[in-house]
Symmetry: C2
Subunit: 441 residues, 2 copies
């Protein structure tokens, strides 16, 4: 028998809507799980069980009163602690912001609430969503990093504490923790999900996206949080898709996969290279091998220039006045960001646009989805680092949507398969992913 905490969000929402389970009962199950494993995992920065239960009771009351229910009615969601919430502090993993209380919810949070979701707490992030780790441990093995910067969100979903959580990615912060913790995660197309009310690191590179234990759940969240927001200058006025319907539609044929090693292939572990070569081979005629042209090799430098300069602009004052409360790794990034020229920055932005256009052109004619590792290997041992985002940088820079699928294992630890889709075609990326999961899951 499936216990409550094993339900997907879609299953739980359906059962709550039908009255088969109560929002309060479901919330209690999640809170009991949190109480049991949180001391070992440390996924939460802020948690208020009574507040969560009160909202769950209100959700049950709302259902009984006959009000129309949103698609996430009564579903607990955990929120990375760089995303503003009016009812919880938002401290961004920095000692400088302890006790900071936003006056308003981020757009994605208010959209979740409008859909009936209950914000169950705030999850641990690295310092300012960069590299200095928080307290979170990998649920599969506490001696290993959960990845970062969305450490707590990925770990909370992986450990069954919540069915859904939001993370953010500037370089590799959604996909890498998804890979390390063995959950589904999506970094949507840049601009699809608004960042209004989210700590700005780099408007060029920042993405918000969900973690879940099924692809359908990712689509369910995108249906709620995606869409134009005038408060985010990179938000684009595109027609809203029905992500869940498209993502769960039966695939009539295999997607046209292309296996791409990328210029950082030699940084992957041997077992990773072997596993992906084997995966590509096993797809037979449905998968070609695709080599990126030389200009793609410049993407990693371009990302570093844009990220460091944008972060120095947005967060440099914290390093200047923060004293010992700021990590060396963060201070070093600020100094690096201040050293780049404006024209280096603009050249890097132009490269990003060019690479994205080139990839989108290829998606039109050559393949429908790329396969590549989500990380160089399994979560590294030790908590002093959150691992290497090198397999994520190209897709953060170009803004293409990527998912991590928990399909592989090594030494008992998860290893994610990263799929990359055409920009603004996130729904079909999820359907292609569902095909692969059905074939190999």
């Amino acid at each position: 028998m499936t216990t409550l905490i094993e339900l997907t969000a879609a299953e739980a929402a359906s059962q709550i809507a039908q009255g088969a389970i109560s929002a309060e009962g479901y919330m209690r199950a999640c809170l009991e799980r949190i109480a049991a494993v949180e001391p070992d995992i440390g996924a939460f920065a802020h948690l208020d069980p009574e507040h969560a239960l009160a909202q769950a009771r209100a959700a049950d009351e709302g259902r009984r009163s006959g009000k129309p229910l949103g698609p996430l009615h009564g579903i607990p969601v955990a929120i990375k602690d760089i995303i503003d919430t009016a009812d919880y502090p938002t401290e961004c993993g920095s000692a400088l912001l302890v006790g900071r209380r936003p006056v308003a919810d981020a757009t994605v949070v208010s959209r979740l609430r409008d859909a009936g979701a209950i914000i169950v707490g705030k999850t641990v992030t690295t310092e300012f969503a960069y590299f200095s780790p928080g307290k979170t441990r990998n649920p599969h093995n506490g001696e290993h990093t959960p990845g970062g910067s969305s450490s707590g969100s990925a770990a909370a979903v992986a450990a069954g504490m919540v069915p859904l959580a939001l993370g953010t990615q500037t370089n590799g912060s959604i996909i890498r923790p998804a890979s390390f913790c063995g959950v589904f995660g999506i970094k949507p197309t840049h601009g699809l999900v608004p960042r209004t009310g989210v700590l700005p690191l780099s408007h060029n590179l920042d993405h918000v996206g969900p973690y879940a234990r099924s692809l359908e759940d990712l689509a369910l969240v995108l249906d709620v949080i995606a869409g134009f927001d005038a408060g985010d200058a990179d938000s684009r006025p595109l027609a809203v898709r029905n992500f869940r319907e498209i993502a769960t539609a039966e695939a009539r044929q295999a997607p046209r996969f292309a296996f791409v090693r990328t210029p950082v292939w030699d940084q992957a572990e041997g077992y990773t290279r072997d596993a992906f070569e084997a995966l590509a081979k096993s797809l037979g005629d449905d998968c070609v091998t695709f080599d990126l042209t030389d200009s793609f090799a410049e993407a990693w430098d371009a990302l570093r220039i844009i990220m460091a300069a944008d972060m120095a602009h947005n967060l440099g004052a914290y390093a200047d006045r923060g004293g010992d409360a700021v990590s060396d790794v963060f201070r070093k990034l600020m100094a690096q960001g201040r050293g780049f020229n404006a024209t280096q920055y603009l050249d890097a932005q132009a490269l990003a646009r060019g690479l994205r256009a080139a990839l989108d052109e290829l998606f039109k004619t050559q393949f429908s989805v790329l396969i590549t590792p989500a990380a160089p290997g399994i979560a590294p041992k030790g908590l002093e680092s959150t691992g290497n985002p090198v397999f994520n940088s190209l897709w953060s820079l170009t803004g293409l949507p990527t998912v991590s699928l928990p399909l592989l294992k090594h030494d008992g630890m998860p290893l994610g398969v990263q799929l990359v889709g055409a920009s603004n075609d996130d729904a079909r990326l999820l359907r292609h992913a569902a095909w692969l999961v059905a074939a190999f899951g």
Copy 2:
């Protein structure tokens, strides 16, 4: 009796639509005027009278065949030579680009053609729309500059060669020539008119806008060229307004004017300061005096950083390989742009956003339109410079819409009154301007 070349575009379009005059007859009148005055004024970089006449005859043929007519059917329009046209070269005022032939029209040009307009030729621009002058002379006095960089467009409209022309502004290149040449010009809200197919100087600062001999004509052109274009990343998905209807609607009461000296007031000529003090006074209770807060003084540095860095990024290669074909003033700008840091550039962008938001807030509560000089004084004598854009920089940086109205004179030369409106409220800015023209014109 009004001669053909004295008609406004709106009048001419109406008469052509009714069959009272022919597009060919109207075009011949414009071409005769061009033949008569162009040797003295030098407004055109490229002109093909036979091509223009052939299109005019086709326009008459189209009307006779009963096809629906666009709002500019048969109206000659001149286009600044940094805006791409498929049927004329586009050389951007640079010896490096002599003979350059775009493969496609800029979005604004194709929108004009779709509305029935006839592109009568390309007008002189300064080198890469920066400061090194072309051949154009001021129609009011050939020893004075017409202003720049949209020198030919402003001069062509002022001299009665065409009823309409397009210019562009990055710092002061629409409004200053309008002031110097004594025509109406509008720099629309940043993002309202797409720049796809226009030489990019600075996507942050570049604007496209029309010149005309009436405010109604400016609105007529905006109705055609404004609106979202996915090819321009700064284009915003706003509801399209009926500019002409709003701009020409009877004003029920005087706008709430605010006279703003700006931090560069001491750079205005004495007669300019006197004229604007007197104008503000004559408006009585309908005009308050408004002083900008200190942070506005940083706007001029911010514009210089953004403009120089963006232009170095977009056009630096021309300076590198151009040898003697590139002016010293342009080469100096490229070097300056390469010297700025990425964080200086990002700080300048943030200042621009902040000032724009502050101004828009003030427009909501304090006043409906600002009055300020369009230029420090009349067109300076001499053709080696195009004059000083210092009264335009703040509005280019913040992207607010501004018009220049040919209401003042000094020493027989025109001096423009610049009105500034709230962002994305260009139509009402034109109506406020019409009120002032009716009161003082």
